[in-house]
Amino acid sequence: MKPGPWRRALVAAGALLLAATACSGSDDGASDDAAAATISAEVASFDLAAGRGERFILGFFAGDNRVLAYGNVTLRFAYAGTREAPQQEAMAGAPVEASYLPVAGQDIDPDKPSPRLVAPSEARGVYGATGVRFDRPGFWAVVAAGTADGEPFELDAAFEVKAAPQVVAAGEPAPRTENPVAGAPGVDPVAIDSRADDGEIPDPELHSTTVAGALAGGRPVVVVVSTPVFCVSRFCGPITESVQELAQEFGDRVDFVHLEVWQDFENQVVNPAAAEWISPRDGGDLREPWVFVAGADGSVTERFDNAVTDTDLRRAVEAVAASV
């Protein structure tokens, strides 16, 4: 996909970043704190909309590749206006606790107390809160406070909240996608799963049925829209493999479908099946990975953007499996 006007506008506004950086930091002078000076916060949510209970996730990175892991951080959100009408002052809402969410596919103890900076080989994940409601669209700022190895930090980041979801959301009907399955004539195996560069499509349970077929059969369906090879999110993990493991366990009650994002990565051709699920309705940039869970009635019950834990995935699948 080509960069949209929104993205170009943001890049053009980059000069403002310098001024923003000069203004950012904590209220209590902790901006010179060593930990805060070396950590940055990055909003990891892909699609936030006003008036809904949203899943808000963000990650913390140190300059030396370490990542913040374990424990909780506190988030405060403030409406900051729009490009046309930025707020001159902003009021922060009530604090929200965000817990550590390890990326799926890791064997770690997420209940270790107190955030610590760790090597990525020990743990990778984000901090997240659910049910976060933004009362209006526009730019929002988040201030995240916590400790890293016992040292307090307070970091801010900004993000956009749209008036409505730009990607298939909970409560909406799941697209009746006629995705190509393994062995589909005339379809490059790599366009079905980017790992199939030898012609052999992995994870057959994820490539044997269409979303439309699953829904027509009255079965719940889990749809993972990902590109195992070409993922560029720094939180990329073995999300497709994690869904595959659930398919082996719940496949008697739930259908599981992997939709490869790219029909042709080099020429930026998105698979139509994937586009039905994750192409932003406003023409914005496509981002991945996503996991969607739909019940037997064909409605999306949950969706997970970017990073999700094995625990949350399992809970969502168990919920729709139990309804069969």
Partner: protein, 141 residues
């Protein structure tokens, strides 16, 4: 956010600028991984060094060490490099990501071809860095 009881004043005039500026920061960093040229070059160079070290460890049969080094020193920077390169040279980004995925897969499974594929990843990473016009680290010693 709704339900904002106990509201606190968190920013003054600066926030008006902060809004758009941080929006740019969050959005473009997430999308592009843009950094200063010097910072990027240093990061890419460190990524190559990490893959070289992992190659040595794999050659010595230390797959666990190779995995640790790869994840700690190279994984994130390679993602950021691929993201940056993909704006201008999708082919180089594709080759980098394909080589990286082969290594990741083999780090989990530990086949005999790991060190060969790590060497291929070094080559793909150096090719990708070359497209950024930044200094290209030398090959592994």
């Amino acid at each position: 956010m709704t339900g904002g009881r106990g509201r606190a004043h968190v920013a003054g005039v600066c926030l008006g600028i902060l809004v758009v500026g941080l929006g740019v920061a969050a959005y473009s960093r997430w999308s592009d991984g843009d950094e200063s040229d010097a910072g990027s070059s240093s990061r890419w160079s460190a990524a190559v060094t990490g893959v070289c070290t992992a190659t040595e460890q794999a050659r010595a049969g230390d797959v666990a060490g190779a995995r640790r080094t790869f994840l700690d020193d190279s994984h994130d920077p390679l993602h950021l490099l691929a993201n940056e390169v993909s704006e201008d040279d999708r082919g180089a980004a594709a080759e980098l990501l394909e080589a990286k995925e082969r290594v990741e897969s083999e780090l989990e499974q530990g086949p005999a071809s790991l060190s060969r594929d790590l060497e291929a990843l070094v080559a793909a990473t150096r090719d990708a860095i070359r497209t950024t016009d930044g200094p290209v680290p030398g090959p592994c010693p």
